[in-house]
Structures are given as structure tokens and as C-alpha cells.
Amino acid sequence: MESENQKVISEAEELPRTIVRRVVKEKLSHDGDDMSVHKDALLAFSESARIFIHYLSATANDICKESKRQTINADDVLTALQEIEFSHFLGPLKASLHEFRQKNAGKKAGAAKEKEEKKKRKLEELSHDNGGGERVENEDNQDGTGHA
């Protein structure tokens, strides 16, 4: 009974096995071309990534709460990474974030062009958001402090 229950929960909260396998395998092909991964090891990789997500977001959450804000933002995550001594991720992450912001801005503009009906509403939202400061997209815009 217990194990069945566990299964239901874990499948929803686990990272998809196929993607984990692909990401891991990509890394292996550098070191030796015919290396494979044991099933238990693959499971452990997936588990480890999940635990990392919890660890990182809990740290980011603490930082967010310390500065008395409601919503975890990009800076909280970046600071958290330094705190947990994973600052070697910061380079690629900042580049990714930059790309993400650009892509989001582009996506919004594109969608607005395509859908005439939603155009005006979207543009209004866009200009409103952009006026708010740094945040390009923020569904939970609670603290309008424009913290950078």
C-alpha cells in the first residue's frame, strides 16, 4: 500500500526520466564514447536534481523573506547560488536570463501582432509592466518596488 502511494506522488513530482537520461548521456559522450548508465544511477541522478531544486529554492526563499518580499525573483536565485557555493553556475545563468528576457519581449510582441483581439489588452499590459521597472514578465506582481 505504502509503496503504491509513493509511486503516485513521486511520478508527479519527479523529473521526467527520459529527459534526465538525455541530459546525463550528453555529458558522458565527452569522456568515453560507449559509457552507459545503470538504472539505479539514473534514478539517483534524477533524485539528486530534484533535491537540488528544493535546496536552491529553499535558500532563495530565505533570502526573499529576509528582504520582506513575497515573490522570489531572479536575484534571489542568483544570490542563493552563491550562498550554497555554486557560483560557477552564475556565468551561464546570467547569459540565459538575458536571453530569456529578450525572448519574452519578442514573444509578447509577436503574439500581439497575430491576435488582433488581444492586441490592445496585451499592449496595455506590456507598457504597464515595462513601466514598472526591471521585470518584463511577472504574473505575481505584488511588491511593486521595482527591486533590482
Binding site: D40, F52, H54, A60, E137, E139
Partner: protein, 151 residues
Amino acid sequence: MAEEENTSMAEEESTEAIRPELPIGRVKKIMKLDNDINKVNSEALFLVTCSAELFLRFLAEKSAEITTERKRKIVKLEHIRIAVKKHQPTSDFLLDSLPMPSSQPSDRPATDQKHPRPVSEKPVPAGTRRIDHFFHKPANEAPILIDNDES
């Protein structure tokens, strides 16, 4: 071959942007399991997803190094464990939660999914037999030798 992407990512101080393969929605779900966490904006969620993927790559790379060191071709749990032990920031949060390598690697062939962590179900000690074992063909034991020895 996406080699040009990968080679640049292999550098330790890379500033190459990554596009995460991990699904953002699933990462969000995992984050939200923590009841202390209130709200997460889309940028933070994106960064956590990227970080998780970078971590996965990092761990895979370090574990593969151990596998290579030991001249093995299959990355096993014990290799991950050694890799985790070697990197202190990782062992800080992961070592205790990492599943222990089992002494009998193939004791859970098909039930893998039901037991994400091999804690509850201990394999029966070698030598003990269940009554129904007598009615099955013992797969993991040496077959009973019958007279005609061909080898």
C-alpha cells in the same frame, strides 16, 4: 551533432546561455511542494530550472570521471556517491539523501519505479529460501547438474 554547443559548455567558466531541457512546469511543481514557498516569478523559475540542469550536467560529468578512473563503462550509484563526496558543496546537501548502493545490484529488476529509495525493502539474506522458491525454477542459482557433462 550538436558539438559546438557542448564543447563550449564544457568550459568551467563558461558564459554560454543554456536552454534548459528540463520542463519548467515540473520544476515549478517540485518547488511548490515546499509549503514555505509563496510565490515565484517567471524569471526565478527559469533560473531554478537552468540551475537544476547545470547541476545535473555537473554531477553526470563528475560521476563519469570516477567511472573512467575505475576503468568501468557503466556509471553506477557508487560512482555518483564518490563524486558527491569529492565536491563539498554538493555533499553538504546531497550525501545523506543519496540512495545507498545495494550490494546486490540486480535485486530489483522490474519494481524499480515503485521504490525510488531502496530503504524499506531489504533483500532477503542469501541462503534463506521462501517456500514458494521450491516451486519455481531458481534463476539465480546454479542449475542442478545432470550426468551428461558436455563441457
